[in-house]
Structures are given as structure tokens and as C-alpha cells.
């Protein structure tokens, strides 16, 4: 008999997984369960096109409206998984229903880190889901006055750039690290980003933490108090202070987790019947050569495809070179590879500061580890081919103004 497959979570990983299962020829029962009320949607535009108002909800759909029906996938929404019985191979849901599985996929994603201080005022929120984005979009329309963005990661910066362009309001970024993108970009690229935000008049408070909010009689924050004792006025506050992997379901079922559900190169957890993919996993990354957790669309799609292929009998392994992108103001940032923890060299190409260029980063062994580009999509795409092929190119050669990455491929 064909195996019954249940997938929990219907964002990039979950949807790609069930679609790939059908493409790979799985004909048995597939059930996809989402705890959100919405049809599955693309997340990256939430902080950009959707927030600007230039993208409709329908345009965010990850698949067409009839996809699940025509692919014979039982898609259930508004339902939370509350427990896994691994011995019985069953998942229990919030409405009391139970689903039996032969293979289970955990694509449970991540959630915004909870604010550790007082209860959140009405006008303070994070952005993760479409619902969050709708609320934020309305909150921007319904308020006037300064906006404070807490956090200096990609989502925070994208929101700040969007609002800077569309609202003309005072915007201040509060960043606890001494520079932007401390976890996800090089100091060089972070400096380019900071420069551009300052040029657009966005305020920056670096190396200080948002501690608490001053609240008015209606329960709204009107200021953010920082760790240096200063207060900045706010009519709207967004918390972009990172996410935590949704690993509790796996943990409660006795699956090993460590800042993410642990999976191997085939996206299997410690239970051979249970796979996991996307932001919720800490996975063995062949490119990094170690366990890492990636929060990006590329990883969600690629892990989902690998898991589906493995389930359909192929010897697939997740060895993809990580890549991601961000659009802020007139800049398209693209990164391929992983920045080494300690690096030997950074070679600059072009003039990233003026809006077009690249940084080539080398690890301690002198091997090219990552390329960050600013408005150089071709360089990024070719860099992807280069790193995917396991190739490197010497720093000397890259430093030569006559260097052209096309010569290598």
C-alpha cells in the first residue's frame, strides 16, 4: 500500500515538499496542515511589495488557488498540531482530530522572539506572517509620527527602507550590536547599508538596547526607552529582534533538537519516519561542513526537495550552497556562500559604496567562502555556479580590475 504522508506547516518548505512529492511520483495520500488561516504565501514580499501596497494578497500565493485540489493534496488550514505519538505514528491536532502517518514532515518554521519586558503595547509588534503584515500595513496607515524599528537584521532594514520611501515619516533603527546585519553580512556590506540608510535620513542608534516603552492612557507606546537611558518618541514600533525555531512539537516527541530540529543530509530527524525542513531545522550543511540553521527561502525549498526525493526512493543529499537576497531602496543585495567565522581576506570589486560592486570573502585556508554583491545580479548568479561547482579563485586574481568571473565558468 502507498504510504500516507503528513506535512505540518504550509509555508515555503511545507508547500514545496508536498508539490515535490507529487512531481517525484508519490501517488499515496498527502495531507498538508497549516496553523494559519491564509492560503500559503510568499514571505519575502511582506516587508517590501506587500508593505508598499504594490502587491495584492493573491499575488503572494505560493501556488494557484486550485493547486492542492488538482494535485490530490488534502490541505487543512487553521489547525495546530499539538502532539506526535511516534509509536502509533499519529499526530493530534487542536480540533481533536488525529492523523495517522507513515511519513511525517515537520516544516514548522520559526516565530519572532518574545519581548522579554512588559506586556506589549497595542502599537508594538513583530512581522512574521501575512496576518502580521496586514496589521502592520494598517497600523502605518492609521498612525502619524515617528516609527521605531528595533533590530538591525534584513527584515528590519527592509521595513525601514519601505516606510522611508512610502511614508516620509521619521524612522529610527535601534540596534543592539555595534553594526547592522551583525549575524548575516560582513562589516563591509553592513557599512554600505548603514551609509545608504543615513543618506535617506533614517536615524540609527547603534550598540544600545530597547529596554521598555513609555505608554499613554490608551495603551499605546509613545516612546522607546533605551539602555543608555535616552528615550526616542514613537507612534509605531516594530520588533525585528530575531526568530526562534518552532521545535517544541519535535522536542516533546523526544526528537533531538538544539536550536532547531536536528536533521541529517537527507533531512531526516532521529526517527526514520520523520523528516524536517526549513527554518525549524538545524541541519548538516555539506557546504559549511557543520550543523547550521539557516533562515532563508533557498534552504526551505532545497531541503523540502531533498526530503521528497529521499522519500520517493532517491539517494538525494542536501549539499546546496546557501544564497539569499534583500532589496532595500535602490539596492539589490545578494549573498552566495557562508561568511567564514574567521576570514583571511576580503577583496572589493567595483564600488559597492556607490551602489555597484562586490565583496569576495576568503576563509583562513585562502578558499573563497562567500560573495556579497550590491546591484550585480550577474556576478551573484555566476558566483553561485562557481561555489556550487566547488571552485575557488585566488584573491590576487579577483583583486585585478581586469578580473571577470565569466572567465572561470
Amino acid at each position: 500500500m502507498e504510504r500516507a504522508i503528513v506535512a505540518i506547516g504550509a509555508s515555503h518548505a511545507g508547500v514545496q515538499f508536498v508539490a515535490s512529492l507529487r512531481e517525484q511520483g508519490h501517488t499515496g495520500q498527502i495531507t498538508l496542515v497549516s496553523d494559519e488561516p491564509d492560503f500559503p504565501y510568499h514571505k519575502p514580499p511582506l516587508s517590501k511589495a506587500f508593505m508598499k501596497g504594490t502587491a495584492s494578497v493573491e499575488s503572494l500565493n505560493l501556488r494557484g488557488p486550485h493547486f492542492f485540489q488538482s494535485a490530490g493534496i488534502d490541505f487543512r488550514r487553521g489547525l495546530s498540531a499539538i502532539g506526535i505519538d511516534r509509536a502509533a505514528r499519529q499526530v493530534r491536532f487542536s480540533d481533536g482530530s488525529i492523523l495517522s502517518y507513515d511519513v511525517l514532515m515537520l516544516a514548522t518554521g520559526a516565530r519572532p522572539r518574545v519581548w522579554a519586558g512588559q506586556a506589549l503595547p497595542h502599537n508594538v509588534s513583530a512581522l512574521r506572517s501575512l496576518n502580521d503584515a496586514r496589521r502592520l500595513h494598517n497600523a502605518v496607515a492609521d498612525t502619524v509620527g515617528p516609527i521605531v524599528v528595533v533590530g538591525g537584521g534584513y527584515v528590519s532594514l527592509e521595513l525601514a527602507a519601505t516606510w522611508c520611501m512610502t511614508t516620509g515619516r521619521d524612522i529610527t533603527i535601534v540596534n543592539s550590536a555595534s553594526r547592522l546585519l551583525a549575524r548575516s553580512a560582513s562589516p563591509e556590506l553592513a557599512a554600505v547599508v548603514e551609509n545608504r540608510f543615513r543618506a535617506h535620513g533614517v536615524g540609527m542608534r547603534m550598540g544600545v538596547q530597547a529596554r521598555q516603552f513609555t505608554i499613554d492612557a490608551s495603551g499605546n507606546a509613545r516612546g522607546v526607552v533605551l539602555s543608555d537611558g535616552t528615550e526616542i518618541p514613537a507612534s509605531l514600533v516594530v520588533l525585528g529582534t530575531g526568530v526562534l525555531p518552532n521545535q517544541e512539537l519535535a522536542l516533546a516527541a523526544g526528537l533531538p533538537c538544539d536550536g532547531g530540529i536536528l536533521v541529517d543530509e537527507q533531512c531526516r530527524t532521529a526517527d526514520r519516519a520523520i523528516f524536517a525542513a526549513g527554518d525549524c531545522t538545524r541541519h548538516f550543511n555539506g557546504y559549511a561542513g557543520r550543523q547550521i540553521r539557516l533562515e532563508c527561502v533557498q534552504n526551505a525549498h532545497d531541503q523540502a526537495r531533498v526530503a521528497a526525493a529521499v522519500i520517493c526512493g532517491q539517494d538525494a543529499r542536501y549539499h546546496q550552497v546557501p544564497w539569499f537576497w534583500s532589496d532595500q531602496f535602490d539596492m539589490k543585495f545578494q549573498t552566495v556562500g557562508l561568511l567564514p567565522d574567521t576570514r583571511s581576506l576580503c577583496v572589493t570589486r567595483g564600488t559597492p559604496r556607490d551602489g555597484k560592486g562586490a565583496y569576495y570573502h576568503y576563509d583562513m585556508a585562502g578558499k573563497l567562502a562567500a560573495i556579497e554583491t550590491v546591484n550585480m545580479p550577474a556576478e551573484h548568479m555566476l558566483g553561485r555556479k562557481l561555489l556550487s561547482a566547488g571552485m575557488s579563485v585566488s584573491a590576487d586574481r579577483v583583486a585585478d580590475p581586469a578580473f571577470n568571473i565569466r572567465q572561470l565558468l
Binding site: H42, P44, S56, S59, N61, H66, K332, P377
Partner: protein, 107 residues
């Protein structure tokens, strides 16, 4: 309501009726067309919505901008003179009957 024809590598043609403003990539997603991955959702950042535009329509499309030209350098299948990223082609009435062929791979 413009119609777009998608020809998959197995030479099967599927017709999608487009209502409302959208790109050729979005029309493919709405119509459950296989082989248009569109991983980045239309941000011109992934080159997985590559199509070959029918010769008769090539000149009727708005020319590719620099970003699209650049990203086309990284498509997985062969790049041809009629290669485009479908997320960068807005569907208009003038494109009624547009026929695009989907390459055999997007990665």
C-alpha cells in the same frame, strides 16, 4: 481577458486565462503550470521562472531591464535570444495569445 499558452518540455500546451494585473510568472502559478519555480516570488533574484518566448511575440514585449539581463546569465537551462524571466513580463491585452516554452530545468 488575455490568454497565455504555456508549452511544457513534454510539448503539452496549457492555456491560462489572466484576469487582473499580473506577470506571466504569476499567470503560470495561478494556472498550476509545472516547471516555473519562481522561488523568489518575482523579485528578480532567483532566475527560476525562465521561459522561451515565442518568436512572434519577442518584439511585442517590453525589453528586459538590466537586472533581468544580468539574472539571465545564471539560468540553469540554455540561454537563448528569446530567453526571458517570466516574472518581469506584465500581462497586457496586447500580449493576448502569448506563447512561452518552459525549459527542461530551472536549477
Amino acid at each position: 481577458m488575455p490568454k497565455i499558452f504555456f508549452v511544457t518540455p513534454d510539448n503539452k500546451t496549457t492555456e491560462v486565462d489572466v484576469s487582473g494585473p499580473m506577470t506571466v510568472m504569476q499567470a503560470a502559478i495561478q494556472g498550476d503550470i509545472r516547471g516555473i519555480e519562481a522561488e523568489c516570488g518575482g523579485a528578480c533574484a532567483c532566475a527560476t521562472c525562465h521561459v522561451y518566448v515565442d518568436e512572434a511575440f519577442v518584439d511585442r514585449l517590453p525589453p528586459a531591464q538590466e537586472d533581468e539581463e544580468d539574472m539571465l546569465e545564471g539560468v540553469a537551462a540554455e540561454r537563448l535570444p528569446n530567453s526571458r524571466l517570466s516574472c518581469q513580463i506584465p500581462v497586457t491585452d496586447a500580449l493576448d495569445g502569448l506563447r512561452v516554452r518552459i525549459p527542461d530545468r530551472q536549477f
